[in-house]
């Protein structure tokens, strides 16, 4: 039988294992060449092994009972908050409450650290407001002040605790990056942001 002179490259073999359509000559070669066929078998086995092991890993973390609990929780949340047709919530608002409040979080001093950093930043930003980049500094300062409950004093740490964790940390991040107003932009949950999926390869 005629065998196409060049063996298939690995990517074509992997394509063959997935749903990639091979050209007629590639498919003919694969059928006739024991070497390429062996490579296809090897890749197929690898894909199968990895898929099975990966699925098992997730399934062990999520046994049937946990899925049932999760489903109940979802349905409960729909009853409590699911009003169709509403606008997507701002982060931290009632429609998307911080889920799994019972979830154990390791104890950290982040609130204190963040409050101190935020306060220091607010003071610094306030100090620079009239001297350097007024608009950005003012926004940063305002963001920090907002996060400190608008009192602008160290006594407001009690107020900080009323903010959600995410809201507060977002404000701090916004203040640091000088894009405080961006924190008020509604998030677009339905548009993929693949650029953020992986910036590094």
């Amino acid at each position: 039988m005629f065998i196409r002179s060049r063996h298939l490259a690995d990517d074509r073999i992997v394509d063959a294992c997935l749903d990639g359509a091979l050209s007629a000559s590639e498919a003919g070669h694969l059928d006739a060449c024991p070497g390429c066929d062996a490579r296809r078998a090897e890749f197929s086995r690898l894909l199968m092994d990895v898929s099975v092991a990966a699925a098992e890993g997730a399934d062990e973390a999520f046994p049937e009972a946990r899925l049932t609990r999760q489903r109940s929780r979802i349905m409960q949340r729909l009853v409590q908050h699911g009003q169709p047709g509403r606008l997507l919530a701002f982060p931290g608002s009632a429609i998307e409450p911080a889920p799994l409040s019972a979830r154990p979080r390791p104890a950290t001093r982040w609130i204190a650290a963040a409050a101190a950093a935020g306060l220091a930043l607010g003071l610094l930003a306030g100090h620079l407001t009239d001297r350097l980049t007024p608009a950005n500094s003012r926004r940063a300062s305002q963001a920090v002040l907002r996060s400190l409950g608008d009192t602008g004093s160290a006594q407001s740490v009690g107020t900080v605790r009323q903010l959600s964790e995410e809201e507060f940390l977002s404000e701090l991040d916004a203040a640091v990056s000088g894009v405080g107003s961006d924190a008020l932009r509604p998030f677009d949950a339905l548009t993929p942001r693949i650029s953020e999926v992986a910036l590094r390869e």
Binding site: D10, D11, V14, D15, L18, D19, G20, F43, L46, L47, D49, A53, A54, E56, G57, A58, D59, E60, A61, F62, L67, Q70, R71, I74, M75, R77, L78, H81, G82, Q83, P84, G85, R86, L88, I95, P99, L100, R103, P106, A107, T108, R109, W110, A112, A113, A114, E165, L169, S170, D173, F187, A189, L190, P192, R193, E196, V197, A198, R200, E201
Partner: protein, 208 residues
């Protein structure tokens, strides 16, 4: 389109839609008709049908069971609250995966933010010993029975992020390369390139 005749749903390519797409179209129609109770019942079926796939994706994406649980819950709640924007001729799995992946991204950003601003401590102000925040309690820490299983799961976790995302959606989320490309907004060729690199890397990592 009647919510009671799901078998009539067709994709734009005239191929029959999946069961999940039929259920989603039913939920949408029932909600539009004001029948929230039946919509909820049908939605619960949809959750049950898609849940396993969703947690597998989220678990390997986030490498943390708690975060995965949260991401999956959020994604389903979002689906229900935005069911009015679901297009009946569009594969539900693709639409849902977009929402799920976006949610995973948000959670990861939140987690990174927490880590950035946190000062770990091992005792409370009262002197009570507490667990320090653990880094990703990933699949590699799971109770996979076989050594090979652990080795494989760890290898997947070591893939560069984009490769892992594409590989997870294709091989664990059981989406076609075309569906992954729609879910992630990448060209199909790009998806194939990342997929191939992932497989090549896995082979290298798992070679003995």
């Amino acid at each position: 389109m009647s919510a009671l005749t799901p078998q009539t749903h067709r994709s734009s390519g005239n191929a029959p839609l999946t069961r999940a797409s039929e259920l989603a179209a039913d939920v949408k129609a029932l909600m539009a008709a004001g029948d929230r109770d039946r919509a909820c019942a049908r939605f619960e079926e949809l959750v049950a049908q898609q849940q396993r796939r969703a947690v597998r994706i989220a678990y390997h994406y986030l490498r943390d069971a708690h975060d995965a649980d949260e991401a999956v819950q959020d994604a389903f709640v979002k689906v229900f609250t935005h069911i009015g924007s679901y297009r009946e001729d569009y594969p539900f799995e693709v639409w849902f995966t977009r929402i799920l992946v976006n949610g995973c991204l948000d959670l990861r950003k939140a987690r990174a933010r927490r880590l950035r601003w946190s000062v770990p401590m091992t005792t409370t102000p009262d002197g009570v010993q507490v667990d320090p925040p653990s880094p990703d309690r990933g699949p590699e820490a799971s109770l996979l029975s076989g050594a090979r299983g652990k080795e494989i799961t760890a290898a997947v976790a070591r893939l560069p992020e984009r490769q892992r995302t594409v590989f997870t959606l294709c091989q664990i989320g059981e989406l076609s390369t075309s569906e992954v490309s729609q879910s992630l907004g990448l060209s199909e060729a790009t998806v194939r390139v990342h997929l191939f690199r992932a497989v090549r890397k896995l082979r290298q990592l798992l070679e003995r």
